[in-house]
């Protein structure tokens, strides 16, 4: 009887551990997630970012605010480097405050920023303001990982009257078909100017008789290319084409005086 009682109690405890729903450990929101400013040399602009603790129960969220530089990675995502690591850093121009505070559950904090563009500054400058909060591990555990989460507001600044938009298309190729029968068109854009450009446009599929078979939009997400850097874009084409020779023609508008265009041929067997 005693053994049955022990088993029953143990089963009850285990069932609680398995079936009790989790409660949210951290729940943060930032507004806005992106700030775009155009400022004249020697002038400044102010703004604010609101961070909210959407958790309605539990402890206050302890938040730390800091600025980092921004780069693009080959996979199209962005990476974050320490301040003043890049030629387009804005770390020395921006002041944020407060930089460390507690937000009670259900409340929000307004973090102000001042962007001061020095005289003689040119082009575009970019960075990210991070809002980071940490959750401490339980002291009773021996080995484990504690967790921080952070949300970042991307900051994009253009120095008014000094931005140059110039880019070129470096290489276009078509590979495939893959296991699903799709072809992939890849092209690289090099930004020769001093400002972020977002080349978007169309990919046309043209047959050997110069008839346009299809047209699709490329870079609809308006992903950017940082100044004096290259970025590779790719677009999958999944529709079935009859056997033959085709041309993949890319036309891009990046905001400059001219469009970028390139073409390459590929064969469907």
């Amino acid at each position: 009887m005693k053994r049955i009682s022990i088993i029953a109690v143990t089963a009850f405890i285990i069932s609680i551990a398995v079936f009790v729903p989790y409660s949210d450990a951290v729940n943060l929101n930032i507004d806005p997630p992106r700030v775009e400013l155009s400022i004249k040399p020697g002038e400044e602009k102010h703004g604010y970012i609101v961070i909210s603790n959407l958790d309605t129960t539990g402890d206050a969220a302890h938040v730390r605010v800091y600025v980092q530089d921004l780069v693009y990675l080959p996979d199209g995502s962005n990476d974050f480097l320490p301040e003043n690591s890049t030629p387009w850093s804005l770390s020395e121009w921006i002041k944020v405050g407060p930089t460390e505070f507690d937000i009670p559950p259900g409340k929000q904090e307004m973090v102000r920023f001042v962007m001061n563009v020095p005289q003689g500054a040119t082009g575009g400058h970019y960075g990210v303001v991070f809002f980071e909060t940490g959750v401490s591990p339980s002291k009773s555990k021996e080995v484990g990982a504690s967790v921080n989460i952070r949300l970042g507001t991307i900051v994009l600044v253009g120095v008014e009257g000094t931005q140059t938009f110039k880019a070129k298309l470096k290489g276009i190729s078509v590979t495939g078909p893959d296991d699903d029968g799709a072809f992939e068109t890849s092209y690289t854009v090099f930004n020769e100017g001093n400002t972020l450009v977002r080349p978007k446009g169309t990919l046309k599929i043209i047959d050997a008789k110069k008839n346009q078979v299809d047209e699709i939009d490329v870079n609809k997400e308006k992903s950017g290319v940082l100044p004096q850097t290259s970025r590779r874009f790719s677009q999958k084409y999944t529709k079935t084409l009859p056997a033959g020779t085709y041309f993949a023609q890319v036309m891009l508008d990046y905001g400059g005086d001219v469009l970028l265009g390139g073409q390459t041929s590929f064969t469907v067997k």
Binding site: D24, D31, R34, V135, V143, A145, S146, V147, G152, I154
Partner: protein, 181 residues
Amino acid sequence: MKAYMNMKRSAVVAIMALSAVIFVSGSTAEQATQDMYATVTINKVFSMVLDNALIDFGYAQPGDTIELKTSSYYNEVKCQANKGTTWHLKIAVMGTITGPDGNPVAPEIFKWQVFDSTGDGDPVKDWTPFSATPKVAYTSGQSDMAGREALVRFKYKLDLPKDATGGNYRVRVLYTMTDNP
């Protein structure tokens, strides 16, 4: 000539009157309309929720491989954004990992993978070693960009080398969510 002029005059008057009839009868209301102008501002949301902040491997012996929750996920991050632009969820280890003997330990002994996700984006499903450089774990899809909540579920693994010291290891994991620049 006079007859011609009279006929011409009659025709002009007839045309003018017919035009008047058409114009005036057109404004006789067989239907009436009124327009109402409606507006709404949809608030921005850019949020991240983590359900379980403690990644606990328990006590590890040298040479052990410990995979948390082998048939399921260990924790999930809920991301929501409605700006209409791509966002990324990244994961990294913060700082150096120090072993029980006080010596630094390579972060690659800890690994992560996205077990599954509820959004329409691209999760990284391969086991990936942790590093100090944030790595993309999930890239949003079309619905994810329009505000639908995306749950990204993670698993974790520890491969403790044979020459490591058994005991307490602490590491801080950092989840980052940002918009596309």
